[in-house]
Symmetry: C2
Amino acid sequence: MGMGEFMTETRQNLLPAVEGPGPHHGSVPVGRHGPPDGQEAAVILERARTSVDPELRRAVESLPGSMRRIALYHFGWQHADGTPAAANAEKAGKAIRPALVLAAAGALGGHRATAVRAAAAVELVHNFTLLHDDVMDRDTTRRHRPTAWAVFGDADAVLAGDSLQALAHRLLAEDPHPASSAAAARLASCVVELCAGQHADTAMERRCPDDITLDEVLAMAEAKTGALLGCACALGALYAGADDADVEALDAFGREAGLAFQFIDDVIGIWGDPRRTGKPAGADLMARKKSLPVVAALASGTPAGAELAELYRVPYRDGDLGRTILAVERAGGRDWAQAQAAERMARALDHLSRAVPDPEEAGGLLSLAEFVTRRNT
Amino acid sequence: MGMGEFMTETRQNLLPAVEGPGPHHGSVPVGRHGPPDGQEAAVILERARTSVDPELRRAVESLPGSMRRIALYHFGWQHADGTPAAANAEKAGKAIRPALVLAAAGALGGHRATAVRAAAAVELVHNFTLLHDDVMDRDTTRRHRPTAWAVFGDADAVLAGDSLQALAHRLLAEDPHPASSAAAARLASCVVELCAGQHADTAMERRCPDDITLDEVLAMAEAKTGALLGCACALGALYAGADDADVEALDAFGREAGLAFQFIDDVIGIWGDPRRTGKPAGADLMARKKSLPVVAALASGTPAGAELAELYRVPYRDGDLGRTILAVERAGGRDWAQAQAAERMARALDHLSRAVPDPEEAGGLLSLAEFVTRRNT
């Protein structure tokens, strides 16, 4: 169960429900250009990366040498030996959060260009949490490369993360835009929520799986993944000069879309193609992670759920991966997660339509929301 | 070599030079109340704690439960089991940084009360770095209690530190004072410098002692300890509406005073009374730490320096502590550190007198600078 990082998946439709017939089934309203497809989202993401990267890069380049080196590696701009790396989205991540900031600003009638610093700040916060989470979770691979701590050690990865958090706040503090202080306060509160979410996640991993409730794991996923997507959308709204109600609606939109994403991410973590996810097949199950489908399966009261609990009681043994996957599926974990993803998407669109009733104006946000739950490249 | 934390020392005059006759020997100009003594500093620190604690506590209380618990423990407001602890300065630290913010604001003609949030923000940043540094340095004791990571684990201590950094930035983002954005940008830059300093420190500990130059260890001490004291003074000046030159002079004052403090701290770490420092005698030497007197001794080109290098080449063996202490002393490490402390204090006072020529107006800052280098309780 990753920290909301977007893996490489090509047009693997894991969520037929979100393409259903009506808005309450989670489908996306049709705008001028027809239903948003992966192509449109790819264009939006590429445009966001083009706008935000120079700001992001300038911030990282301002770091003292020791911190700069780690940050440049983490962002995929340098190899571990300090030589320049060819920029590509796979190494740098998908820029979904900056794209949400810019799209939200545009949807609420603001100018995308004025929100570029806020977008870079959100991306810096995201990457600060990735650096720290990888240390805590002992994850050795991120974006198909060794994680920063695996290359530079724990201390340096933590310090580089600390520096990126500071850079995020500095970008906003130096931004003359009238919304920058409100945005900074909101981003700081979001960081606190992200920390609480990561705490809940690591604490849960140490607990007996049978003791964990669905409510707990949902709250954790909202704090860990939903909060920053919500904050990204809220910052865009703030920069567009939106009123409180619209800012909160955009936050709720991003949170629900983030939860929808997390459900899909957990499904892919179990049933996705390892050649596309870049992770070994069933890694989360072998590590006995309490992902959303797993907790749902454990709480199902079914014989398959009981079998899963039995399997999870002991560390992974060679050969029981197939049985584990099957148990989650038979206990309804996969169906539930997919239905939840569709439900969260429906709620997300509901929130969005309150702030931005015109589907054409909401187009960019819709494409991005669709993208994160369809998981096109 | 601690991260600028003030240990409990009672009127142990380790630095006769700073009490010399003239300003160029580092003595303190005489104000209306005669030369500042520990008593005056104690009053200033106590008053700062009284002003800032409610703001600090409100910020910490706003954290979600999991993060709040760790922060309350770290600040000495709760025991590890979550029961309230009697507040006392020994557990909460000496509030030297908030006191510098308030004193600097006052010295530059501002109102102390308006700078309380900035003072709390600086204290939050200081405590965020303590939480993280203790994890990296594997320090098990802080303020006479087990460190947060020793009680709650590494991940939670890192997350609580992350949360405190975020709280610091939120306090400034929510502060309507016209200087708050400039202060936030400056504090964020300071965090980056603190991280680079901590990186240099941990990297140095892994290197062969003979390869480390005095310049390197001085730069590290300035980044790790001087930067935040300088930032505290600069923030006070900003909140008083001071011009750029005065803000920079106050920053330089704090930096030099911070370096003076670090020299004294390192001297105490070797020759201080363990009953007063709260650390085992010679702990830094036994851990083969490259403190300022040690690096100076190693670089001295004396027979004692060579003997010290020999001792430092291997891990601590029972019985060689006495020889190690003597080697540092005979190689001139102690004398050099004390002379450097005096020199730094003289420079600090020089910077201060440019921005605040009237010793009476500078009184609070002078008392605090004197305090950190005399190390009264």
